[in-house]
């Protein structure tokens, strides 16, 4: 863990996942985003509110990464995954499952765990 300044919005979002109260940012039209956001890029609404993240999401794409950056050297191979939680899609690493058996549409939950290589906080999906 580094002692650098927090990234406003992002670190608060990770805190909320750790506290069991994950959320996303939503505009009145129902477009979903992750913080920090001041305006909806789809409809330009500035009336953004936070909404509770659905309890589970569905895998929309994944890739098992064998050649990692130095910051993920000891994590490789790992499964970078996109999971759709209703109006918002989130990028994380899939754990607790054999990469060979992953399929699109598999249901996952979200958590914050540690990156093996550096100990930094990491968005993780695990099967539900």
């Amino acid at each position: 863990m580094s002692d650098r300044a927090r990234d406003g919005g992002y670190d608060d979002w990770l805190d909320a996942i750790e506290a069991g109260e994950p959320y996303y940012v939503e505009c009145p039209e129902g477009h979903g985003w992750l913080p920090p956001r001041r305006v909806c890029p789809t409809c330009q609404s500035r009336e953004l509110t936070t909404a509770s993240l659905p309890d589970s999401g569905e895998i929309t794409s994944f890739s098992t990464v064998y050649v990692a950056t130095p910051q993920f050297e000891d994590d490789a191979p790992y499964v970078t995954t996109l999971a759709s939680f209703g109006p918002v899609t989130i990028t994380g690493i899939l754990r607790g499952v054999d990469p060979e058996t992953v399929e699109l549409g598999d249901v996952v939950g979200i958590s914050v765990e540690e990156r093996t290589t550096t100990g930094d906080r990491l968005v993780v999906f695990r099967p539900r």
Binding site: S63, V65, P70, T80
Partner: protein, 388 residues
């Protein structure tokens, strides 16, 4: 319309030159371009320079004045950064400047030194073109991003790793006669399929290499070309640029690249052509799947139909619309900040008959260059036409 003409171009040998500085690479390409153009250095009014990761690999910011000096010029010099589309963005602004009548002669190019830091650090450097908070901190690399896009493409439209392998095989074959190319070796579909995985479903031979190199060209106004009697038959007649959300997670669909679709539509309208008029294209095949996405974005194929183009031979040098006669990024190499200009130089040489693969399109008059930054959150398309 005052369409800028390509008076001359220069490209270094692409490959592993870890000991060569960016300034030396660009000096070679820039001087070659000036010599080929037959333009007096005193007439060059500005440099547009593309570079992506010079701070990381050479600890060098503020590169444009350094690069102007390296080619012996004391002119206003500006660096353009749009990840892998940096040079394409520089070209676009040069085209607009010349059209506006604000300049008659511009040097446009780019350079990237990458292999000096090794594969891991270069992979790390390239990754900063993605969203740091939400992608890079979740382990995203560029191969991973294109792996995600490939899997989504297969799920939405079908296709196989074997189809992608044919893209790599084609581009390696095209590069065999390209003396500037990094990888001049024939490969087979089996070689691609059995290569070590990088980011599933993409393997080592689905990916372009890490490359050092530079490219440059001299763009001039029609009036300047006429007045100085330049032999400059190829013009840039259309320019377009599109944008998209930086992170894949913020796009409604990752099996297409809408920024490139927008760029192509704008460039075609600008040039007054349609996709059916295109005789050849150089596209941004940083990964095999990226070539498929590119030819669909250019309107050469409907979404979902470009995947078999290489398999069926339609995009080989013997096909109706050859794609990446240079070998593409895949085999020619991808010095990131130089790629957009290297693509345009290739098309100019094919259209004027001086490229070793020019015989693939002996009657070709229209070529298109597609340059994509990141996962195509930036994309530029340029249309080139030759006087016949």
């Amino acid at each position: 319309m005052n369409s800028p003409r390509i008076a001359g171009a220069g490209v270094t040998q692409f490959g592993k030159h870890p000991e060569r500085t960016g300034r030396d690479l660009f000096a070679e390409a820039g001087l070659e371009a000036l010599d080929a153009a037959g333009v007096s250095p005193d007439d060059v009014e500005a440099l547009h320079f593309g570079n992506f990761m010079g701070e990381l690999t050479e600890h060098q910011g503020h590169q444009a004045p350094l690069m102007a000096e390296a080619v012996g010029l004391n002119v206003p010099a500006t660096r353009f950064e749009a990840a892998c589309a940096s040079a394409g963005a520089g070209v676009r602004e040069a085209v607009k400047t010349i059209r506006n009548g604000e300049a008659d002669v511009l040097l446009v190019g780019g350079a990237e030194r990458m292999t000096n830091v090794g594969t891991a650090a270069a992979t790390d450097g390239l990754a900063i073109a993605a969203d740091d908070l939400y992608e890079v901190r979740a382990g995203m690399t560029f191969p991973a991003a294109y792996g995600l896009m490939a899997r989504s493409y297969f799920a939405e439209f079908g296709g196989s790793r074997e189809d992608l392998a044919h893209v790599a095989v084609k581009n390696h074959e095209h590069a065999l006669v390209n003396e500037h190319a990094q990888l001049r070796s024939e490969i087979t579909v089996e070689d691609v399929l059995s290569a070590p995985p990088v980011a599933d479903p993409l393997g080592l031979y689905d990916a372009c290499p890490i490359t050092d190199g530079a490219a440059a060209m001299v763009l001039v106004s029609e009036a300047y070309a006429t007045e100085h009697g330049l032999d400059a038959p190829v013009s840039i007649t259309g320019t377009g640029q599109g944008g998209d959300s930086l992170a894949l997670q913020d796009r409604p669909d990752i099996a297409t690249t809408p920024a490139a679709v927008d760029a192509a539509e704008e460039a075609y309208a600008d040039a007054g052509i349609g996709a059916g008029d295109v005789d050849l294209a150089e596209v941004h095949d940083c990964f095999t799947i990226a070539e498929v996405l590119a030819i669909e974005s250019l309107g050469l194929y409907e979404p979902g139909e470009g995947i078999t183009a290489a398999t069926d031979g339609e995009t080989t040098r013997h096909g109706d619309t050859p794609i990446n006669l240079s070998g593409g990024l895949k085999a020619k190499g991808h010095p990131v900040g130089a790629t957009g200009v290297a693509q345009i130089a290739t098309i100019a040489w094919v259209l004027d008959g001086t490229h070793p693969r020019a015989d693939a399109v002996p009657d070709g008059t229209v070529g298109v260059a597609h340059n994509a930054g990141g996962t195509a959150a930036s994309a530029t398309v340029h249309v080139l036409e030759v006087d016949r």
